[in-house]
């Protein structure tokens, strides 16, 4: 206790003097903002959180302050892009363990600072699964401190004091104090050791598991007050847009800014130098126009004359590239997983079924195009932007500008969608570079929709080929899956031309089938554009191909697709890949003991989705049901789509039933909204999603040629069925796993309705021709 006492005071005093609390400090009261060294989370189960860069934090000093009037201020350190996780669900976990009245909680956004806040990279459906345990501990620690303070005030034993809904109650006498009344004294107390903390019994939860907390920014969003990166306004601000190399890796031969500089309002034209591959998140070569307004900057950009050298990727052509990937899959590739002897079994099979599938590049197209504002004053840089990884962006910006990280402050505002695009901070680096050119004035770089579509970090393009061998009894005895797709790693390192361990774990090597001979191989595929994470990543392509292929086999064998899928998965068991894979299985970064591959849970979501959708019911002509299931982000999802296809090939989706098993469901209401949204995003990529390249250039530009599903094409009803678990079942991902099963379930439904099999996304006009 003494040890913690001293170290606590020391750190808090230092921190207070440095004024770090400025942003969150309410008037007086408990204001703490440092991590107490030496206190570790008392974890019921291990997660991959500690392995993330800068890990997690559990200390209430970092995330929490209580003012004298009882207002509880919670710092949201992760990025809010629409899941509700960062600014609602995670603070709600703290508030629940604190037994705070949510009406008296306010949320402030933390700056990009992972040394202080732990990992802030909001990606990979990790927020709740990595932070539920640390933040429960955080809230319970603060509750302990308040109870101690009240006991001291009353001079009673702390066992007689209980924190109840923003009040401290002395049980024997019924005396009460508000949280704010003892906040100051609580501030002087040590943070408890892990063994002193009492977590709530789940029966006492007020918010967790309930879904009764509206998203924090609801009022601001519905009144136009919510501020996103595009909306940042600073006094004396300049506005900039950038003309970027149309081909990744291109450079500027020469440019003529004279006409641009004549546009009224244009003040300066600045070159942005490219970074040789692998460029990570560094900007493309570009010419920036800085002006008094966005409109003037846009007009100035139109007037630029630029001669580009298109560089090494100038002949990237999506048609030719698809042929190359298909070809790669026709010869043996790098073995990624092997069971038995699939080649031999294919040779002796009574029947072999072979199919090929294709999923193209996709753009994220968040409704808010990327934007960032930066200001450089006296050697200190401030950035305001919408960033999925504000801490990582801070480091990348400092590195590019040759600055000390301590001299860079990153203020993260709301993200108007992210989907992986805003994990890459090229736009914030652009703003930071331009801030050196404005004589100390802040400058906002706004990307247009065309910029966003043409200069993305695209979802990879994937060709998958399957050969399944059947014995004389029509039993599947062998399965060979070859997959070729350029790797995300090419953005960060010399191009490996094969999937690296993370991509292998995104739905490729973990096919959970009970087949005696099984091999998964990857073909060589070189990247010619910037490849990045897109919501659900490689799971999108592999769930599409695998779940389509299973349904195709069922049809060949005259079997019900749901029954056949369950048969291939086999009995409920824990799948152990360790002796089958050639690269250690990634498991989304989670310990396999906490998050095993449990075919029982996969089977269960299939059964739930089938039951709730009334699978097997007779459908009128032109209507069909399709099913698909996939485990991703250590969550199990099964989806049944009901589709109608009219004589002209026009689709309408009557109903979607999705069953999700994401362990303990912390915020069921937001889980529902994520799954409803995932259905629409899945439908968009299935029907329209395609980025193509010709002569190295992206051919699409805006929502006319990169279409999104609109309300009149959206599913009439998406019904979400959450598998219930207690808190002992580890919470798993929610933001992404709803997407992958949608496209195959839809295409399987289309087949049921029409007999037409879609093997290449997007569906586009394939049904009308």
């Amino acid at each position: 206790m003494t040890y913690h006492d001293r170290s606590t005071e020391l750190i808090i005093n230092n921190v207070s003097r440095r004024g770090i609390l400025k942003g969150i400090a309410a008037a007086g009261g408990l204001v703490l903002a440092a991590q107490i060294p030496g206190i570790r989370a008392a974890l019921a189960y291990p997660t991959g959180a500690e392995e993330m860069p800068n890990g997690v934090r559990t200390d209430p000093h970092i995330f929490l302050s209580i003012a004298k009037d009882g207002t509880v201020t919670i710092v949201a350190a992760r990025a809010e892009m629409g899941t509700g996780a960062a600014r609602t669900t995670l603070p709600m976990i703290i508030a629940d363990e604190l037994d705070a009245n949510w009406e008296r909680v306010r949320i402030v956004q933390g700056e990009g600072d992972e040394k202080k806040y732990g990992n802030q990279d909001t990606d990979g459906s990790r927020s709740v699964r990595h932070w539920i345990q640390p933040l429960r501990q955080c809230g319970a620690s603060a509750r302990w401190m308040l109870e101690q303070a009240a006991a001291k005030r009353w001079n009673v034993n702390v066992s007689e004091v209980e924190a109840v809904y923003h009040e401290l109650v002395h049980q024997p006498t019924g005396r009460k104090l508000g949280y704010g009344d003892v906040a100051e004294e609580a501030a002087a107390l040590p943070t408890p050791r892990a063994d002193q903390i009492r977590l709530k019994d789940p029966s006492a939860f007020r918010y967790m598991g309930k879904g009764n907390v509206p998203v924090v920014d609801l009022f601001d969003i519905t009144t136009g007050r919510a501020v996103y990166g595009q909306d940042v306004m600073r006094p004396g601000m300049k506005f900039a847009v950038v003309a970027r190399s149309p081909v990744v890796g291109g450079t500027i031969v020469s440019y003529d800014a004279s006409a641009a500089l004549k546009v009224p309002g244009v003040e300066k034209v600045v070159k942005i130098d490219p970074t040789p591959a692998p460029a990570k998140f560094n900007p493309l070569a570009g010419v920036a126009v800085i002006a008094k307004s966005t409109f003037a900057a846009l007009k100035g950009r139109d007037a630029l004359q630029i001669v580009w050298d298109d560089g090494l990727n100038k002949s990237y052509d999506s048609v030719a590239y698809k042929a190359k990937l298909d070809e790669a899959n026709k010869s043996p590739g790098k073995v990624e997983r092997n069971v038995g002897d699939p080649d031999k079994a294919l040779g002796s099979a009574a029947k072999v079924i072979t199919r090929e599938y294709y999923v193209p590049h996709l753009a994220h197209a968040a409704m808010e195009p990327p934007a960032a504002t930066a200001q450089l004053t006296n050697g200190k840089l401030e950035v305001w932007s919408s960033l999925q990884s504000p801490g990582g962006a801070r480091e990348d910006i400092a590195k590019r500008l040759g600055m000390d990280v301590a001299d860079v402050t990153v203020h993260n505002v709301l993200l108007g969608g992210g989907f992986g695009r805003k994990s890459k901070c090229d736009y914030a680096i652009e703003a930071a570079l331009l801030a050196k050119e404005t004589g100390g004035a802040p400058v906002k770089v706004a990307w247009t929709r065309e910029d966003d579509i043409r200069h993305g970090f695209y979802h990879t393009v994937t060709a998958d080929r399957f050969e399944a061998g059947l014995d004389a009894n029509n039993k599947v005895v062998t399965w060979r899956h070859r997959s070729s797709a350029p790797s995300i790693l090419s953005t960060f390192a010399p191009d490996p031309k094969h999937p690296f361990f993370i991509e292998l774990g995104l739905g490729l090597v973990d096919a959970p089938f009970d087949i005696p001979n099984l091999r998964i191989e990857s073909g060589e595929a070189e990247a010619h554009t910037r490849i990045g994470w897109f919501r659900s990543v490689n799971n999108v392509a592999h769930a599409f191909s695998i779940q389509s292929f299973v349904a195709e086999m069922a049809h060949e064998l005259g079997r019900d697709p749901k029954d056949f899928l369950l048969e291939l998965i086999g009995p409920a068991r824990i799948v152990d890949l360790s002796k089958q894979v050639t690269t250690p299985y990634w498991n989304n970064g989670e310990p396999i003991e906490s998050y095993p591959i449990d075919t029982g849970r996969l089977r269960h979501v299939i059964e739930v989705a089938a039951e709730r959708s009334e699978w097997g019911r007779r459908m009128p002509r032109g209507r069909g049901l399709g099913i698909a299931a996939h485990r991703s982000f250590v969550t199990y999802v099964a989806t049944v789509v009901e589709v109608e296809v009219d004589a002209k090939g026009r689709l309408s989706i009557q109903r979607i039933d999705t069953a999700i098993d994401c362990g303990y469901a912390v915020n069921p209401e937001r889980i529902r909204s994520q799954i409803e949204g995932a259905a629409v995003m899945g439908l968009t990529l299935a029907r329209y999603g395609e980025i193509t390249h010709k002569n190295g250039r992206v051919e699409q530009s805006n929502f006319n040629d990169f279409q999104l599903i609109r309300i009149d094409e959206a599913p009439t009803e998406t019904r979400v069925h959450i598998v219930e678990h207690g808190i002992d079942v580890p919470s798993s991902g929610v933001g992404e796993p709803g997407v992958p099963p949608l496209a195959p379930a839809l295409c399987n439904a289309i087949f049921a309705a029409t007999g037409k099999r879609i093997r290449r996304l997007p569906i586009g006009d394939q049904l009308s021709t």
Binding site: I221, S293, M367, L415, T448, A679, F703, R710, I711
Partner: protein, 150 residues
């Protein structure tokens, strides 16, 4: 020079008459509730009311709004309690929220003219407003909840 009324306030604009209303609202008046989404009237994020009609502010020039009354999301209701805004909150419509101001402005204009729209009318009227998060099911339900037919 153009005189316009924005959220009840008279304004005089002396800049480039070809500037889209959206940039005037955002960059000059700081009314950033009108969002920039596509710039070519394909997404509806910048929807405002001009003399009561839902209009994409990115696709109308300042010279075309002279003498007209513009209402943005900030001016829809002084307390943010327009029935559409209330329905949006009651049903927890938004995810990221970026498109929602445009959705709300579009829905408010629809209901002002068609107080009890059919499902088909709702979809047809709202089809110009994109939502990448995919909140359409709740958008539809919220328009219905705010309508006279609810």
């Amino acid at each position: 020079m153009a005189n316009i009324q924005v959220n009840g306030q008279e304004r005089t604009f002396e800049g480039d008459p070809s500037m889209p209303l959206m940039w005037y609202l955002r960059d000059e008046l700081g009314l950033t509730g009108t969002k920039f989404g596509c710039g070519v009237a394909l997404c509806g994020a910048c929807t405002v009311h001009i003399n009561g009609d839902a209009v994409r502010a990115c696709a109308i020039q300042m010279s075309d709004v002279a003498g007209k009354k513009v209402v943005t999301i900030e001016g829809l209701d002084p307390n943010g309690r327009h029935p559409v805004q209330v329905a949006w909150r009651d049903l927890g419509v938004p995810q990221c929220g970026y498109c929602q101001a445009g959705q709300i402005m579009n829905a408010a204009a629809l209901l002002a003219k068609t107080p009890a729209p059919t499902d088909t009318e709702i979809d047809a009227a709202m089809a110009g407003n994109l939502c990448r998060c995919g909140c359409y099911q709740r958008i539809h339900a919220a328009v219905r909840a705010a309508s006279k037919g609810a």
